[in-house]
Symmetry: C2
């Protein structure tokens, strides 16, 4: 793998990840963007939930579902200068031009009880991971070599972003499909380096701590063991990974992918684990696409250990991918309405065993 | 107000709420529905979050956006027999035919640490509140008298449902607009009697408890006081109610409506408070409708005290309405994508002060 870091004309960083033997990456960004136009939002503390909410008004103007000729993730050409100056590329990562979080003003200390109406700069970093130069591709069309290259980019970014001052959590994720609100169809994922530990992780760690106090063991280890033993919701299991629909799935289609060995972050994955995932994940997405014979909308993201986590938090952390979809039938979407959005009480219209059976069958028919 | 309780042909309860002088409600349900066809779902415990998730597979087949001639909430006629046997009505409440929760098998004890793969009957009750016989109406078109009648229905139901065995929380809410997933356009709200305290309330009570330990006071009292003092996000305040956009709003448009006096549940509202809200709320919805000159999609629901709450929980509870919308521009919706849906980290594209200014101006131009 070869890594080439360059700067875009406004100073944002762009990193190419290429297999050995690829062309050298030396093209310049000819757009002449003004430096420093990228704006930082703010974060506000919500006293009712003790959470930070980010306000990023500058994101309202971002481009919405452009055709390939205007796509910022396609390679640049004489006719169209994109975010990626090269005329072709394999995997490219760059700082988001419309970020929710930005390293600009120094981050505030978010630990401890905030004062009323606490508002601080939205310190952090948002990156875009372009998976391929092919505008019409998707994870489903990535060969294992390319998927592996994407994973190399993830691991590189997790390592680097974890060392930035004030970063508490690195979240690697992908939104796929207009149904979940993507604004760019070009196949890509994103990385958010948050200045706080996000609420879902705080909640998992709280539950894991309580479990450890009762049983002495790791909650996530136990969940993986139980799902493997039970087997009814397992889609596929091999030497390195298990994919299952969780027992208490909140979404009509929800899949968790866990390494069999206990890993706490992406950069702990061995070569064999990476190679195995690089085969497994694109095939799973092809299986999901076959469920309704159309690109399956999803949100997928890695849960891993907080950066700067305490010894206890690190012990209770365990890496896994969670993929959720709001599709509940060929022509129907699941909406999170008042019960879910206001009360946090989820109602799922599809039983997890039914969803697992459908996906398992699709997996078997997919290569 | 006159209350008339009847049974539908399958045994479900229907209650008419009428102003004095309305016709007597004696029509029979002539559909001959088989008793007991209403099915109960199950609830599963999620070990990662310590929450209950409801699985209600029977809801997949519910009717989707029917025209008025097929609408189950329109009055019955010779051509169309609906859920409401009368040929006209004012406000009607009935048990949902496709409920997420049902009183059938006895509820399980949900307190304490559940065992692995805990699955219990989804004990509870789901009711539909039809606001008017007018299929094309909405809260915006309700006169204060009718809104008051809706409130009487809410209070009646909160009182009765709170006494059902095994009910821990009564949630009164409305989903409005296809944008938030409503399956019936006829103006109506819903009531869920949950067998657990929903997660959002658990979280608020946890935060309130911590606040009380530090300051000795009520967190929600303090929030209302601070928002009134600050004033920048207040839309309207009168003797009985204040409506504001919260400081750390998660949604592009989000309004909280709090009684000025400390109330912990809907049935504590005085006549004057009810009369004032009955004027305020329809006008607020008219103002929201005027923002983009189209019916404003929203989810609105009352936070109140848990039934069977501890002394401490009751002390930390306070009644308020929270209204959130996923509209962020005339032609754009806010989607909760991976950051929100997987991590619980919200990014809001509109500053709360901007939203408040827009709504305040619209309120001023609305009668």
């Amino acid at each position: 793998m070869r890594r080439t870091a360059v700067k875009l004309s406004d100073g944002r960083e762009l990193i190419y990840f290429d297999e050995e033997g690829a062309a050298r990456r030396s093209a310049h960004d000819r757009r002449g963007l003004a430096p420093g136009e990228t704006r930082q939002g703010t974060m506000r503390h919500d006293p009712l939930t003790n959470q930070w909410v980010t306000v990023a008004g500058h994101r309202q103007s971002r481009i919405h579902l452009p055709v390939a000729a205007l796509c910022p993730l396609c390679p640049s050409s004489e006719e169209h200068l994109s975010e990626i100056p090269e005329s072709e590329y394999q995997v490219a990562v760059f700082e988001n031009r419309f970020p929710s979080f930005l390293v600009a003003e120094a981050g505030a200390d978010l630990v401890g009880e905030p004062h009323w109406n606490a508002e601080v700069p939205a310190h952090g970093r948002c990156e875009v991971v372009a998976y391929t130069a092919d505008h019409d591709g998707s994870v489903a069309s990535l060969d294992p070599g390319r998927m592996r290259l994407v994973m190399s980019a993830w691991i590189d970014r997790v390592r680097e972003l974890s060392t930035l001052p004030g970063i508490r959590y690195v979240f690697v994720f992908e939104n796929r499909g207009a149904e979940v609100g993507v604004t760019l169809h070009h196949p890509h994922g994103q990385i958010y380096a948050y200045p706080f530990v996000p609420d879902a992780v705080v909640e998992n760690l709280r539950t894991a701590k309580s479990y450890r106090a009762r049983s002495g063991g790791s909650l996530l280890d136990a969940v993986v063991d139980r799902e493997c033993e039970d087997g009814r919701r397992v889609i596929v299991v091999n030497e390195y990974w298990v994919a299952f629909v969780p027992f208490a799935a909140r979404w009509p289609y929800e899949v968790q992918i866990h390494p069999i060995a206990h890993r706490i972050s992406l950069d702990e994955l061995t070569d064999s684990e990476q190679a195995s995932f690089a085969e497994l994940f694109p095939r799973l997405v092809r299986a999901l696409d076959s469920l309704f014979d159309s690109p399956f909308p999803y949100m997928a993201g890695w849960t891993q250990a907080p950066t700067q986590g305490s010894t206890e938090e690190l012990a209770d952390s365990r890496l896994f991918l969670r993929l959720i979809s709001n599709r509940r039938a060929a022509d129907k979407l699941k909406y999170l309405a008042s019960s879910e959005s206001l009360m946090g009480a989820y109602v799922n219209d599809i039983s997890p065993e039914t969803a697992a059976e459908q996906i398992r069958r699709a997996w078997g028919e997919t290569t």
